[in-house]
C-alpha cells in the first residue's frame, strides 16, 4: 500500500494516467472535467510529457489518433457534448485498430444540457459512439479510488486489445474528493507495437495505419477479425461487484455514483427487513451478462437505478432473458437520486411500505 492522498476525481484521472506511463494528453476545456486539463497542464511538463489544448474536441481526438498511430500512449477527456464531437475520431481509431483512452465525465443532455452529473451517455458509450460495427471497453468507476485503479488498467487494456477504452465517470465523481492510493496495478504482458507509423528507419516495409477498405469482402473480414478480439474481451475482461446479493429478493442494478447511493438504500431496506441487494457492473462493455443471468436464478425482481431515463434497462432484460421483472427508477437532467427515493421504490416493489 502506498501513501494515501486526498484528491479530486478529475485530478486522479490525470495522475493515474501519468503513473500508467502516458505522456500525451490532448484536450479541450468543458465543465465538469476541466480540472483534469489544468492538472495535466501543470504536471505533464514536469515528467517530460505534453498537455496540449486543441482548437476543438474534434482536433483533440485526432491528435490522439496521430499520437497513438505513431506508437505512443495518448488520451483525451471531455464531457457529454464534447464526446459527441469526438465520435468521428473514435470510429476511425477503432477502424484503424489503435489503442487509446477516452474519458467522459458525464453531464446532463441532450444538447448543451446542463453541467450537473448524469449518466445519460450510457447508450452512446456502450452501443454506438461512432459509425460502423464496433465496440470498445467502457469502465465505470464508482469511487475516486476506483478511478485510479481503472485508469491504470485502461491503458494496458487498450494496448492489449488495440481498442479505445472509455472511462465513463460523471460530474459528481469528477468533482468529489476522496482519499486515494495509487497502488500498483495488475501486471500484464503488453504486445509490441509493430504496427506503429513512426518512421521505418529503412529497416522494414512501410506501416500503413488505415481504416479504409474498398473491397467489401476485405472490410468484412477486417470487422470479423476485430469481433474475434471482442469475443476475447467479453471472455476475459468483465468486472462487476456485488453487495448482499446472496439472499436478495430485490436486486438493484446500478453503476458509477448511482451504485453508491443505491448501496445506502439497500442498507436501509435491510434494516426494514427487506431482502435487497446490489449488483454493480464495473465494465459496461463487456457487460456482465453471465453473472446477471445467474442472479436471475436467485432473485425475484430487478430494479435498475440510473441518472438517466433507463438506458441500461434493456441490457438487464437481455442478460436475464426477461425471466424476472425489471423495474426502473431514475432521475435525469443532472438531478441526483436520494437514498430515500430509491428506498421508496424498493418498498413499493416489496408490496408497499409496512
Amino acid at each position: 500500500m502506498g501513501e494515501k492522498m486526498l484528491m479530486k476525481g478529475n485530478e486522479v484521472i490525470g495522475e493515474a494516467a501519468i503513473r500508467s506511463g502516458c505522456r500525451y494528453f490532448f484536450g479541450y476545456p468543458i465543465t465538469p472535467q476541466t480540472e483534469l486539463s489544468e492538472y495535466l497542464a501543470k504536471k505533464m511538463p514536469k515528467v517530460g510529457g505534453l498537455c496540449l489544448q486543441a482548437e476543438s474536441e474534434v482536433s483533440a481526438i485526432n491528435m490522439v489518433l496521430g499520437c497513438t498511430a505513431s506508437g505512443e500512449r495518448a488520451f483525451t477527456s471531455s464531457s457529454s457534448p464534447g464526446i459527441s464531437l469526438k465520435s468521428e475520431g473514435v470510429s476511425y481509431i477503432i477502424g484503424s485498430d489503435l489503442p487509446c483512452v477516452i474519458v467522459n465525465v458525464q453531464r446532463g443532455g441532450p444538447g448543451l444540457g446542463g453541467i450537473q452529473p448524469a449518466q445519460s451517455d450510457y447508450l452512446q458509450a456502450t452501443k454506438a459512439l461512432g459509425h460502423g460495427d464496433q465496440h470498445f471497453i467502457v469502465l465505470a468507476p464508482a469511487y475516486v479510488q476506483e478511478i485510479a485503479t481503472l485508469m491504470g488498467e485502461a491503458f494496458d487494456l487498450a494496448d492489449i486489445y488495440r481498442t479505445p477504452v472509455m472511462l465513463l465517470a460523471d460530474g459528481a465523481l469528477g468533482q468529489m474528493m476522496e482519499p486515494v492510493d495509487f497502488e500498483s496495478k495488475k501486471e500484464r504482458v503488453l504486445p509490441e507495437k509493430t504496427w506503429a507509423a513512426c518512421g521505418h528507419g529503412n529497416k522494414r516495409e512501410h506501416n500503413i495505419v488505415n481504416s479504409l477498405y474498398i473491397s467489401p469482402e476485405v472490410l468484412e473480414q477486417t470487422v470479423l477479425d476485430r469481433y474475434e478480439r471482442y469475443k476475447m474481451i467479453e471472455e476475459n475482461e468483465v468486472q462487476y461487484d456485488e453487495y448482499m446479493t446472496e439472499d436478495a429478493e430485490i436486486c438493484i442494478v446500478a453503476y458509477g455514483i448511482t451504485a453508491r447511493i443505491a448501496k445506502t438504500a439497500v442498507k436501509a431496506a435491510r434494516e426494514k427487513g427487506i431482502k435487497a441487494g446490489l449488483f454493480r457492473p464495473i465494465t459496461l462493455w463487456p457487460y456482465p451478462k453471465k453473472e446477471l443471468a445467474a442472479l436471475a436464478d436467485k432473485v425475484s425482481k430487478f430494479l435498475v437505478v440510473e441518472m438517466n431515463m433507463g438506458q441500461m434497462v434493456d441490457d438487464v432484460k437481455v442478460a436475464t432473458d426477461c425471466r424476472r421483472p425489471v423495474e426502473f427508477f431514475g432521475r435525469t437532467g443532472g438531478v441526483i437520486p436520494t437514498p430515500n427515493e430509491i428506498l421508496a421504490k424498493i418498498e413499493e416493489m416489496n408490496g408497499g411500505a409496512k
Binding site: A54, N62, M63
Partner: protein, 251 residues
C-alpha cells in the same frame, strides 16, 4: 544507363489517378525530395480524404490515413510525440479548406513543425465534381450548376494568403504543375518547405495549383490551359511567407 527512374520513396503500386491528373506529378516531386534529403526512414505521411486518400499505398514511408479534414491534427499528434520525424500531410482543397479549415488555421497558429502539401484543383474529385471551397466564381460544378455565385455560394478561399497571416507559419508558397518550368519551381518549393521543417522553423505549406480533367470535363492539355487562364489570376503564384528570407533581409 538509367537516366529516369522511379523515386525510391514511391512504392511499385500503380496509381489509381485518372489520366491527366496532376496528383502523379506532385507525388513524384514529394518522393524525389524525400529521396534527395535521405529522410524516407524517418518520414511519416498523413493521407487525407478524397482522391489522394490512397497516397498511403504510394509513398514508401510510414503512412497514416486521417479522417476528412483532420490531417493537420493527426500530424500534430505524430510530430509532438516524435519531434525528430519528418511529418507531412497531403490534402486536397475540400479536405483542407472546407471541413478542415479549423485544423489548418490552428496548425499554423501553433507553428507546428510540419509540412502541408495542399492540392488545389477547385473541385471535389473523389465524389465526382462538386463545388470546392476554392471553386472560382462562375465555375460550373455539379453543385453549382449555374456557376458559383458569391451571393449564393460565397467566395473562394485563398489559402496561402490566409495562412501567411499566422505568426506560426514559417513558409507558404503557391506553385503550379502546368509546365516544366513550374514543375521545377514546385519541387524547389517542396524542398524548401521540408528544409524549414528540418531546421525546426515552424509550419510550412505548399499550395499546388492542379488539374482535374475528369471533373472539369476537359482533355488533359486543355485542363492545363484552363488552370493557366482561370486559376492563376485568382490564385497568383509566389512566396507568401518565408521567415528564412525575412531573417536574412534583416541581417
Amino acid at each position: 544507363m538509367v537516366v529516369f527512374d522511379k523515386p525510391k520513396a514511391l512504392t511499385d503500386v500503380p496509381f489509381h489517378y485518372c489520366p491527366g491528373c496532376t496528383h502523379g506529378i506532385v507525388h513524384r516531386l514529394v518522393a524525389e525530395v524525400i529521396d534527395e534529403m535521405g529522410i524516407e526512414g524517418e518520414t511519416v505521411g498523413i493521407a487525407s480524404v478524397g482522391c489522394s486518400v490512397f497516397s498511403y499505398n504510394y509513398f514508401s514511408c510510414d503512412m497514416i490515413q486521417a479522417p476528412h479534414g483532420r490531417a493537420p491534427a493527426v500530424a500534430t499528434g505524430v510530430k509532438r510525440s516524435h519531434p525528430d520525424n519528418f511529418v507531412f500531410t497531403y490534402q486536397g482543397d475540400g479536405d483542407l479548406a472546407a471541413i478542415g479549415t479549423a485544423e489548418t488555421v490552428h496548425v499554423g497558429a501553433r507553428g507546428e513543425n510540419i509540412t502541408v502539401i495542399f492540392i488545389n484543383n477547385c473541385i471535389y474529385g473523389m465524389t465526382g465534381g462538386q463545388m470546392a471551397p476554392t471553386t472560382l466564381l462562375g465555375q460550373v460544378t455539379t453543385t453549382s450548376p449555374y456557376g458559383r455565385k458569391k451571393e449564393i455560394q460565397g467566395n473562394p478561399i485563398k489559402v496561402c494568403e490566409m495562412v501567411s497571416t499566422l505568426d506560426g507559419t514559417a513558409y507558404a508558397e503557391r506553385v503550379a504543375v502546368d509546365c516544366v518550368k513550374n514543375v521545377r519551381a514546385a519541387k524547389k518549393a517542396i524542398r524548401k518547405a521540408f528544409e524549414v521543417q528540418k531546421n525546426k522553423q515552424g509550419f510550412s505549406l505548399v499550395e499546388v495549383l492542379s488539374t482535374c480533367p475528369t471533373n472539369w470535363g476537359l482533355a488533359p492539355e486543355q485542363a492545363l490551359e484552363w488552370l493557366r487562364e482561370n486559376m492563376m489570376s485568382h490564385y497568383p503564384l509566389g512566396v507568401y511567407k518565408d521567415i528564412t528570407k525575412e531573417a536574412k533581409d534583416n541581417e
